[in-house]
Structure formats: structure tokens, C-alpha cells
């Protein structure tokens, strides 16, 4: 390859940026329901999520990279979730935490719950559990990091 130098260089830069965004996922403080408390517990001392660089929970969607949809997304909330998602800058990632946001969870019979947040925003990683324990959420974040670095396809 004669003119491949440039290609190698760009991939290296891309790799570096990927590495950067994988290791510094600043989550948005968006607790919707029960899972929010477990999200807070993940942030707290026992299972310090700061070890992975996700220390800073940003309040403004403009400054966050990761939206952890923690809790039931109701039909009234869905447009707002969508709007918040659109306010985030690229590259942005979404974790669906808990079964309510995966497929409706305990509220599948109901009339006012969205059956899966992936109908509203594109989801990168799904974490089942009701609510997922902090360990499970940490594992989910690690899965997301691997996904950003193209290391896994689980």
C-alpha cells in the first residue's frame, strides 16, 4: 500500500478518540424511577463507578455522553426522554437499565408504559434486572466500553 499511511493515521486517531470516549463516559443524572436509586448506589462508595472514569454525573445533557435510562419510561415521559437524547452531543450512548425500559417489565399489562425505551431512543446496552444490582450496572457499563472499542458483540 503506497498511500496507506494516511489511513493508518486516521485509524489511530479514531482509536485514540474511541479510547477516550470509552474511558470517560460522563452519565447524565436521569433517574426516572426505582433504578435511579441503584444508579446512585453505583455512584456511591461501595461500587465506585468513578474507577471507570464515569465519576462526573453531569446535570446538563449538553455535557454528558451516556444516558442511563434508569426506570420506567411512561408514555408521557417518552417524548421528553427523546428530547433530552436529542440535546446530547455526539458521540452519545444509551443504557437501558432495568426490565421496565427493556420490554415494559412488570407493567406490560398497563396502558401508560412504553414497552421498551428502544422504541424511543436507540439503545446500546440492555441490563436486565428489576432493579439491576450495582454490579450488574457496572458490568453493563463495561460492556458498553467494550462495544465502543469494538471488542465485543454480545
Amino acid at each position: 500500500m503506497k498511500n496507506g499511511d494516511l489511513g493508518i493515521k486516521t485509524t489511530t486517531i479514531e482509536k485514540a478518540l474511541e479510547w477516550g470516549s470509552a474511558n470517560s463516559l460522563w452519565p447524565l443524572t436521569m433517574g426516572l424511577a426505582c433504578c435511579a436509586i441503584e444508579m446512585m448506589a453505583t455512584q456511591a462508595a461501595d461500587l465506585d463507578i468513578a474507577r471507570f472514569g464515569s465519576e462526573i454525573f453531569r446535570n446538563s445533557p449538553r455535557q454528558s455522553d451516556l444516558m442511563i435510562v434508569a426506570g420506567t419510561t411512561t408514555k408521557r415521559m417518552a417524548p421528553r426522554v427523546k428530547r433530552v437524547y436529542e440535546e446530547m452531543p455526539y458521540p452519545k450512548y444509551v443504557i437501558a437499565m432495568g426490565v421496565c425500559v427493556i420490554q415494559g417489565g412488570p407493567y406490560v399489562d398497563g396502558y401508560s408504559v412504553v414497552m421498551g425505551v428502544d422504541k424511543v431512543v436507540p439503545v446500546d446496552v440492555y441490563i436486565p434486572g428489576c432493579p439491576p444490582s450495582p454490579q450488574a450496572l457496572t458490568y453493563g457499563i463495561m460492556t458498553l466500553q467494550k462495544k465502543i472499542k469494538h471488542e465485543t458483540d454480545r
Partner: protein, 151 residues
Amino acid sequence: MYKIISESEDKNKIKIINIDKNDLIEFMEDYKSKGYYLSSITGVDMQDHLEVIYHIHNYDTHEYIEVKILTTDDKVPSLTKLWKAAKGDEREQYDLMGIIFEGHENLRRIVLPDEWVGHPLRKSYDLKKVQYINMDSEGKEHVSYNENEGW
């Protein structure tokens, strides 16, 4: 003077007083003057009629009383003039059960958007007819039966 139709007890030893719905205001005014406060309002759909159950509570004598009225035309008098606690409760019961509280100054839906069709806690509410909500750029919510127009 109000007339007590019948008295009984529920399984938790709470006194149930059945009265006519036209006597409600008078009855509640009397009990308010005795030091009772409104605790909760429950609507029960009995399919041919609605039951509205008021739980009132006296903080001094520790007495709980259940007041039950029946209505066949969904309309009952509002208690907002007596207790402010009724404001939220009545809105909620209107929203979910479809009980119209006459005299409530702000009888709007509280947990569902204004355009929502039907009252979900009614036994006749069809859960299979799914409604979807969307929001326009000004923050107004719109409800439709079409899946593509909302979530």
C-alpha cells in the same frame, strides 16, 4: 339534616356510614366542625353504579370513618370548599375513574394528558385500545390511537 342510611364496619373495624349523595356536603360540614379531616377519596366502579368512598379522620380522638355514597350519573358534589386536600384527590379520581365532582374549580386530568380518552380504572375501559402520546415543540401533549404518532 342529613340522614344516615345504614352503618356497618369494615374488616379493619372502621365504621362505614352510608349516606345519600345529596346529604354529603351537609354531613361533611357537620363532621368538619367536629374536628375531622379528609384523608382519602376512593372511587369504586360497581358496573351499574359508582361508589365514592371518603375516609375522614379525627386527629384528636384517633377515629377513622368511612363515608360511602352511591351515584348512578357519575356526579357527586365537590368537597374542595371544606378541605383543600380534596383538590388533588378529586382530580385524581376524575382522571382515573371519571367521577365528576360538581363545584370543583379546576377539574382537569392530573396524571394523564388532557386529551386522553376514557377513564382507565373503569371496568369497561378497553386495555386493548392502546393510546399513544406525543409532544410538540411547545410542550403540549397530543394523544392518538395511531402507533406511528407517538409512544
